[in-house]
Amino acid sequence: MIRTIVGLIIVLALSVVVISSVPDYSLPSGLQGVGQDYTERGVNDTGSVNLVTAVVVAYRGLDTLGEVVVLFSASTAVVLVLTLVPMGANPTPSSSIVAFTSGVLPGSIVLFGIYIITHGHLSPGGGFPGGAVVASAFLLVMLGSNKIPGKSKLLASIESLAGVTFGLLGFWGMMMFGQFLNNMVLPAGSPGKLFSAGIIPLISLVIGAKVASELSGVFSSYRKAGGDE
């Protein structure tokens, strides 16, 4: 009870802190700082029409690399932790609807995912969303199947290969322009085309593969661990 009240007080005080530090309650007049720069220079610099992707992959590629590592670490950690602990061995059998659906849908989901990944620099989307979509297909397959999936060699290979490729792409930029993850090691092409925007599509692909494989890995570990005891 005391904890609740103290929690409330803390939270309220926090809100006061945050609100009191807002300087004014007007609308910002326009873009400021780097936002403006991105919108002005983005297409020229990167050749990507989708500025978010441009920022994510090109300008702040390092963040993305880091993010991939976050995901990678988390999935490795989850797998590692879960394999170390003896877990329940019998997953509940899935219902027939799920079983059926999981046989039909994944193909199209994967296709959709790949589309999102590959068109990341053109339209909303990119490696992360696409990868997540692809992973959902795996999830579906897993849910439909009654077997306990091991972390397949294929997944591991994709995961590893994608990561290494990302890193090597970075080094490629380093070698060519002295700038890690430089976008221009491949020609920028004409904005709006599929094969344009330097290495952005490539990296999107890598990220997609990576995200898909990592998430699938996590799912499969969960699945393995989550059975009845």
Binding site: V17, P23, F72, T76, L84, G167, M184
Partner: protein
């Protein structure tokens, strides 16, 4: 390209590794090693290119730009010289820890490499969101590793780390959003553009995040639990990589926060230091102790951020943080909190180096940084200086306790742990390297003691004292370890000590000698408690000395506070009045000839310090000389009484040593020529007789294996020579005329009367009378009385112990019969010191004259020897020859004595005296110190009540801290 390799190679390694482990752990380990060694090489190349190794321009940097364009559009990694040094340490630590991970959790390699990547990224990152990404990688890898490495409480440690990391994420992102919305940029420099409410908001958010992440005091709870709960190998790697990275990142961010006056960091840090170290006193688990130490260093970082700027700041922070992290790494690798590991003597020492480093003992690297940093504080922020010094002292106490408790398990097999040994070696190498860099600060001109004659006295005293201890070093008993090396080091440092020309040199040599002696003491059997007390008091006196030196600006000059602190340092080192506890604990514990060295030689260092203080403060008089003389007199008295009651040979000698040092204090406090002559005379004399006595004790211990009076006695038949030398020493220190000891008393009393300090003199005289009690007890308890059958096998002490005693005994005789040999040298030297009052004694041939007294030692000696010789010879040649009867053949009311042990009266020897003293309140130092201990314990308990062990409480702490900061900043700005 090298830049990129140095930063991103581990990442590639991690990815590659993710594919390998299931096939072959060997291959994955091989990959890791290759990657890490390559990365290390790249870092080393970079560091050489940046010229980082001379620690001058640690802010120099190369830029590794990434992405497209330039900041603020893209992200740059700024590889600073300081950062690259830290990176080298991180690489090294990771390499050294791999094999332990390989043994326990082979599949964790990708996580280790990810953790390293995160650490590297964090120290190089210049973008606030990018830092966040690396922060998250680090947190996740840490949590993962913690949860994956088998260890009792890993889940809890992981959960707490995860809880904190969750909160940090939220607060940090809030700060990022505020920052971006206010400035439109995410680089670290953008922090400087903030103003008004958003500045405060971002500052308090980031400060809370930083304090939480670096585990500084009020928010350290999770860190303590984490260090305690995580397996040692994880905690070790964590402290050497991630913890270090966070600290350096905090060091980078803190000066940029738009917080107005950064002194607030210093206050948070200083207060936190004291409080957390108070709580640290109560910590028992070794992991938790490391946690408190981490917290101490985090607080130091805050203090540094608040009080220093520029390259000095960088230098201080880099050296402090890098080496303390390495030290913690090696401690964790050695000290598994879960298993009671087994140590050999070698392991004990290896274990000590990191502890010494954490405590900031020279010449280990942290010392240099701490010294410069504290000097800066002392001259600019005195209050913070005292606070920090107190905190550091408390830290030293629990670190040494930690060490002594660990080293208690000294025995048996295979202490060899490559990781820790390598780290220790690195630390030592770094110590040598940094010492070499700082060599210019040292000064061996001997400027602090202007009189070269006095300097030479001390030089030769220390050298001779050490040399005389050396022959006996291989006569060790039982499980005592080899200590000659440390004896030699300590003695060498002492021998150079009088040549020190400035404060830092003096301090360095002083600590060097003290802690070499600590190690030497630790080589004894069951020496851990003794070593602990010795280490604590040595570091207490070290810190007092440090404070004094720093406050007086490196010299020993001027009266006032610095001089008082320096004097206190000397008094503690001498074991005067209350602080004798360490002598009494350490001497009995110390092996072989070490007590002789400590009591005879090493204690003279504090005399040197007092002389230096006196000479440079007022040219001869100590500050409050009267007080010092009183301290000396009272110590002489209480020491003598305690010595008379002591149940143990070495313990008695320890009390006696403290008591005798009191006379030196009385002489020095007098600040007259006679007083100083007496003090110097007694210094020399004390060295001679105390070494002879302790060497004799070493011989007895060597032959009988015990130093308790209850088990000794009657050894005169077995060890006549040892007895003879001990007898000479005893007669001398009881100041019975024909031998040397009388001279010091005579000079001292004349000096005291000359200055009219009669009450001091009376106490001193009483003490010297009480000295008879223990001098007899000493001879009787060990050599006379009944020989216990237990010691029937005892033989004469070995020659290496006997010969130095013989030399010393001869010296006593010579000094006793011809004191003018020494006085002719001492008196002019002391007469030349300007500030001393009083008249010099006049020496005419063998006659010494003062205004009131005369003393002709030669004639007295002749008379005593003549009469004694006559009586002896007469009895020898005339009449019948006495028949020797055995020891049990005594007039025992017609009975046969049951056994030698039963009729040897040595237990509770001066019982009537004790009964007569019964009206005094029963105060003893041990009680006082245990009271102090208890008080600190209660304070510590009060502080650590904050750390409830509930993860959510820690989060509440963070939030409350944030609110308080807000209130404070709004009130203060």
């Amino acid at each position: 390209m090298v830049k990129a390799l140095a930063v991103f190679l581990p990442l590639l390694g991690a990815f590659v590794n993710a594919w390998l482990p299931s096939k072959s752990p060997r291959a994955s380990r091989f990959v890791s090693y290759v990657v890490l060694v390559a990365g290390l090489l790249a870092s080393v190349v970079l560091s050489i290119r940046l010229d980082a190794w001379d620690l001058k321009n640690l802010s120099d940097s190369v830029i590794l730009s990434t992405g497209v364009g330039a900041p603020p559009l893209s992200i740059n990694l700024e590889i600073t010289a300081g950062g690259i040094l830290a990176a080298v340490a991180m690489y090294a630590a990771t390499i050294f820890s791999l094999h332990r991970f390989a043994r326990t959790t082979p599949k964790s390699q990708p996580l280790i490499l990810a953790l390293l990547t995160a650490s590297l990224g964090l120290i190089y990152s210049t973008d606030i969101f990018n830092s966040f990404v690396f922060l998250e990688i680090g947190s996740i890898s840490t949590i993962g590793l913690t949860a994956a490495c088998k260890c009792g409480s890993r889940w809890e440690a992981a959960i707490k780390a995860a809880l904190v990391s969750g909160l940090v994420t939220i607060l940090y992102l809030l700060a990022v959003a505020t920052l971006y919305r206010s400035t439109g940029m995410l680089t670290l420099e953008a922090l400087g553009l903030l103003s008004g409410g958003s500045a405060i908001l971002v500052s308090i958010l980031l400060l809370t995040v930083i304090v939480t992440e670096i585990k500084a005091f009020p928010l350290a709870g999770w860190g303590l639990d984490f260090y305690q709960g995580a397996s040692s190998v994880v905690a070790g790697l964590y402290s050497a990589t991630w913890s270090l990275a966070v600290l350096l990142w905090a060091a980078k961010v803190l000066p940029l926060l738009p917080i107005g006056n950064p002194i607030i960091y210093a206050w948070i840090g200083a207060a936190g230091l004291v409080f957390s170290q108070l709580a640290g006193l109560r910590a028992s688990s070794s992991g938790r102790i490391m946690g408190y130490s981490t917290s101490a260093y985090a607080s130091l970082l805050l203090v540094a951020a608040g009080t220093t700027t520029g390259s000095f700041y960088t230098q201080t922070v880099i050296v402090l943080m890098v080496f303390s992290s390495l030290a913690k790494f090696s401690l964790f690798m050695l000290g598994n909190p879960e298993k009671s590991d087994k140590w050999s003597g070698f392991g004990t020492i290896i274990f000590l180096v990191p502890v010494l480093l954490l405590a900031g003992i020279p010449p280990l690297p942290v010392f240099w940084a701490k010294f410069a940093f504290l000097a800066h504080l002392a001259s600019n922020f005195p209050v913070i200086f005292y606070t920090v010094l107190t905190g550091l002292m408390l830290e030293a106490v629990y670190l040494f306790r930690f060490w002594s408790q660990r080293s208690e398990r000294t025995n048996e097999t295979n202490p060899y742990k490559p990781s820790a040994v390598s780290a220790v070696l690195i630390i030592l190498l770094a110590g040598i390297w940094i010492t070499k860099l700082s060599w210019g600060a040292l000064d061996f001109s001997g400027a602090i003691i202007a009189s070269s004659a006095l300097r030479n006295v001390f030089h030769s005293l220390f050298a001779i004292g050490t040399l005389l201890c050396l022959p006996g070093v291989f006569k060790r008993i039982g499980r005592e370890k080899n200590y000659w090396f440390w004896l030699l080091i300590s003695g060498a440092a002492l021998t150079i000590l009088p040549a020190a020309g400035n404060g830092i040199t003096f301090y360095l040599l002083w600590e060097f000698s003290a802690f070499a002696a600590v190690i030497a003491v630790s080589k004894g059997v069951r020496a851990s408690r003794g070593t602990f007390w010795f280490a604590v008091f040595a570091s207490l006196s070290g810190y007092l000395l440090l404070a004094g030196i720093l406050l007086s600006g490196g010299s020993f000059a001027i009266a006032g506070l610095p001089a008082v602190l320096l004097t206190l340092a000397a008094l503690v080192k001498m074991g005067q009045f209350g602080t004798h506890l360490w002598n009494v604990k350490a001497y009995p514990a110390a092996p072989g000839t070490i007590p002789a060295f400590l009591s005879g030689t090493s204690s003279k260092a504090s005399v040197l310090l007092l002389v230096a203080v006196a000479l440079s403060s007022t040219g001869g008089s100590l500050p409050w000389g009267r007080v010092i003389a009183w301290i000396g007199a009272l110590t002489a008295l209480t020491g003598a009484v305690l010595a008379a009651m002591a149940p143990d040979y070495k313990k008695m000698l320890a009390h006696a040593s403290v008591s005798q040092l009191g006379y030196i204090l009385m002489g020095l406090g007098l600040a007259s020529i006679l007083g100083w002559t007496a003090a110097f005379y007694h210094t020399i004399h004390h060295l001679i007789f105390k070494m002879a006595l302790f060497l004799g004790a070493a011989g007895v211990l060597y032959r009988t294996g015990t130093s308790e009076f209850n088990n000794l006695g009657g050894l005169v038949k077995k060890m006549p020579w040892t007895f003879a030398f001990t007898l000479i020493s005893v007669i001398s220190f009881a100041s019975i005329p024909p031998l040397a000891g009388f001279g010091s008393k005579w000079l001292l009393y004349n000096g005291l009367v000359e200055q009219g300090w009669l009450p001091v003199m009376i106490v001193g005289m009483f003490a010297s009378v009480v000295a008879f009690l223990y001098s007899f007890r000493l001879l009787h308890g060990v050599f006379l009385g009944q020989l216990s059958p237990r010691n029937a096998h005892a033989k004469e002490a070995p020659l290496p112990l006997l010969i130095p005693q013989a030399i010393l005994a001869v010296a006593i005789m010579v000094l006793g019969f011809k004191p003018t040999l020494l006085l002719n040298f001492l008196v002019p030297a002391i007469d030349a010191i300007p500030g001393l009052s009083g008249l010099a004694p006049i020496i005419q041939g063998d006659m010494v004259l003062t205004t009131m007294g005369t003393w002709n030692a030669w004639m007295v000696g002749l008379m005593v020897m003549g009469i004694f010789g006559f009586a002896f010879v007469f009895y020898w040649i005339s009449g019948h020859k006495p028949k020797y009867v055995g020891q049990l053949d005594i007039g025992f009311a017609g009975e046969i004595p049951p056994s030698a042990d039963e009729i040897h009266y040595s237990n509770n020897f001066f019982r009537p005296y004790k009964r007569a003293l019964a009206f005094l309140p029963n105060i003893n130092a041990e009680k006082i110190f245990s009271g102090v201990n208890k008080t600190f314990g209660m304070l510590g308990d009060a502080v650590r009540a904050l750390f409830t062990g509930d993860g959510r409480t820690y989060l509440a702490h963070s939030l409350l801290f944030l609110l308080l900061l807000f209130v404070f900043l709004n009130g203060g700005m």
